[in-house]
Amino acid sequence: MKAAAVFLLFVFPLAVPAAEVKLPKSVYSPLFRDPGEADSVVGPLLVDKTPVTNQEFLAFVTAFPQFSKSKIQPLFADGGYLAHWLGDAAFAKGEARFPVTHVSWFAARRYCESRGKRLPTIAEWEVASDARSSRNEAKIMAWYGRPGARLRDVGAEPANKFGLTDAHGLIWEWVDNFSESIMSGDSRGGSSTESLFCGGAALKAKDPKMYATFMRFAFRSSLNARYTSVNLGFRCVRDMDGGGE
């Protein structure tokens, strides 16, 4: 609206690598599991320290104009794609280091690819974000209690035990296999939402008191790869060739 509030970025440093932190080899123990489903091992892995920002995403859409606000194909994003941007290459002043939101799974995935990375899996994200700590549970629960809260710069809060920031209490994040949210990938029959409603959700849960985790899984399972949301962004991960613990 106000021209002065518009921050236009014509030149961007494509080569600045996002800070990464190392997730050591870890065990993921799912909250929801099918009979016989075992714990799995994740990592070692390099994980973006922060979610992808508006500025970083601007660099991407400039390099790949087919992912700009005006050119994105409806197949790859719903009508809310980059809704908060003021144009194909502009967002409100002061939001450069806000996490980018209103991005679809297709766009997030392509972004990571363009950096030689990928989206994390549910297991990787859950472990790296230290989601099960009671401190983070409390943080998430408090977040739901502040509807319409404004975003802020990434990295403003202390890092978690792996060195990650902003995993909780700022935005949701895309994961590669979001559509397997409730049932594991090889679940036999039944829709992924079947066990999500009413008592069903608690039946398969290891600990029915992990409310924040229920919410996160419910959120993921409500998504479609085209969807965008004001509270949904992403970060990328990179496999470490040859291990390296």
Partner: protein
């Protein structure tokens, strides 16, 4: 031979008894109206279409007047929003239609409903709706599961009439409900409900806040309290005082009032009670059989409802409570219906006696504390003062404080020809009572006045008082005159 004749008769008798117990030819066929509707093969495309207008609680949508089924479109928006829970206390409510409870829906048995749930883009969470009136997977929960910034539509046939709860059914379900995501849907029976003057929509629910009841500021949900089922707030219509004080429900004397009462829970069972009224009719648990009359308190389960009605016979403030009384007194479960209109002392008088109570056993008190009988009046002024007290205590309930009586029931003492005409008769009436038809100021009264067990001194006082009050003017009545009338 005689014996042989008797056996078939006895056997036939047993057979008749069996038939009368189990119906004709054995067990009755299982039947239901819902199965008939489900199997009627109605052409949905030919049903007349209409869209349902949302109306905020405590108002209920108007009765359905059409006599045939329709295809009804209902759309409701889900929003996560901060609102007042109590004075100085805010809470992040998750709402249907921006209110707690959500708007009441009203359709007719046999209607085909296209239900659309829109989840506001600012929502952090996906939501959905489980309408207990829906026959189908999750009551619509699966078909309505919606991410923020999207909307979903599913359709269902209203097979079973009754009053049903709806609620969000996304995990963790209890939390979604505890944050206010519930409401009622009425599926009106084909024949409708009996017509009443007013209908209101009241729904109980409890809130589990981190802070104690009344702690100021924005309160957040407390999972531990919720799991223990120990709420800080138990309220009607989403906040303390939502339907009390300036927001009280209103009615006039003589009107019939129906309450569509629901209980969102998520944890507590409501003992729904209206102080100062008796439910004339109760459709227990929101079913369609009028199964109770004259009920004081009706139980409403969590995730259940009841339809109650009554007539407002006298003016006053009717108080809605959960009769688990600490919820009402300490947690907010209070509502109010203000009934305006003329008093009817034949139904209720209000306080008519405000007297000092002197129980027996006064002898136990020290002598110095012993009550002494009031000294007998010695002059006209004292006689009048004593008479006024006797009147208030014994007479005003029927003849009224101002002596006007009550038309057609209790004759007036004010300007009363009957009273003033015969002093001895009036003494006898007060001492012995009066039964049968009398004419007072040209009007006939046929009622009973009990004999009052008054001392001669009190009779003298009260008669002196009434003969010299309310526009009457007459001589005093002495104790001697009272004594002479046997």
């Amino acid at each position: 031979m005689k014996k042989n004749l008797h056996f078939p008769v006895i056997i036939a008798g047993i057979a008749v008894a069996l038939v009368s117990c189990f119906g004709k030819g054995g067990a009755e066929k299982w039947e239901s109206t819902s199965a008939k509707i489900a199997g009627d093969n109605v052409d949905i495309d030919k049903m007349p279409k209409e869209s349902f207008s949302l109306i905020a609680p405590p108002l209920a949508p108007p009765p359905i007047t059409r006599k045939t089924p329709a295809r009804v479109a209902i759309e409701v928006e889900v929003r996560e929003t901060v609102k007042r829970l109590s004075d100085g206390v805010d809470y992040t409510f998750w709402t249907f239609g921006d209110t707690v409870p959500g708007p009441m829906f009203r359709v007719r048995e046999g209607d085909y409903v296209d239900f659309t749930l829109a989840n506001h883009p600012s929502s952090k969470l996906p939501h959905n709706i489980d309408l207990h009136a829906v026959t189908g997977q999750g009551g619509g929960a699966e078909g309505s599961f919606t991410a923020p910034g999207h909307k979903s539509t599913f359709s269902f046939r209203a097979l079973n009439p009754g009053l049903y709860v709806y609620h969000c059914a996304t995990a963790p379900v209890g939390m979604h409900v505890a944050n206010g995501m519930y409401g009622l849907i009425l599926v009106e029976p084909k024949e409708g409900l009996p017509k009443v003057d007013r209908e209101y929509y009241v729904m109980q629910g409890e809130f589990y806040t981190k802070g104690k009841f009344g702690d100021r500021g924005l309160q957040s949900f407390d999972m531990e309290k919720a799991i223990r089922e120990q709420p800080e707030y138990v309220v009607f219509n989403g906040s303390v005082g939502a339907i009390a004080g300036d927001h009280s429900l209103k009615a006039n004397v003589g009107e019939t009032i129906r309450i569509f009462a629901g209980n969102g829970g998520p944890g507590l069972i409501s003992s729904f009670h209206v102080i100062g009224e008796i439910f004339d009719h109760v459709y227990q648990e929101g079913g369609t059989v009028l199964n109770q009359k004259n009920v004081q308190t009706t139980m409403i389960p969590a995730g259940g409802a009841a339809i109650v009605d009554f007539k407002a016979d006298v003016p006053g403030n009717l108080i809605l409570v959960d009769h688990s009384l600490f919820r009402a007194f300490n947690k907010g479960a209070i509502g109010m219906i203000k009934v305006d209109g003329k008093p009817n002392p034949r139904v209720y008088t209000g306080k008519t006696v405000d007297a000092i109570y002197l129980p027996e056993g006064q002898a136990l008190q020290p002598l110095s504390m012993e009550q002494k009988a009031a000294p007998a009046p010695t002059n006209f002024t004292e006689r009048m003062a004593a008479g006024a007290i006797v009147y208030k205590t014994n007479c005003a309930a029927c003849h009224q404080e101002n002596g006007q009586g009550v038309p057609d029931a209790f004759p007036p003492l004010a300007n009363s020809d009957f009273l003033m005409a015969d002093k001895a008769r009036s003494i006898r009436v007060v001492k012995d009572g009066l039964q049968g038809a009398i004419t007072v100021n040209g009007k006939t009264y046929n009622s009973v006045m009990p004999g009052l067990d008054l001392s001669d001194d009190d009779v003298a006082s009260v008669l002196t008082y009434v003969r010299n009050s309310f526009g009457n003017k007459g001589e005093a009545v002495s104790v001697d005159e009272v004594k002479r009338v046997k």
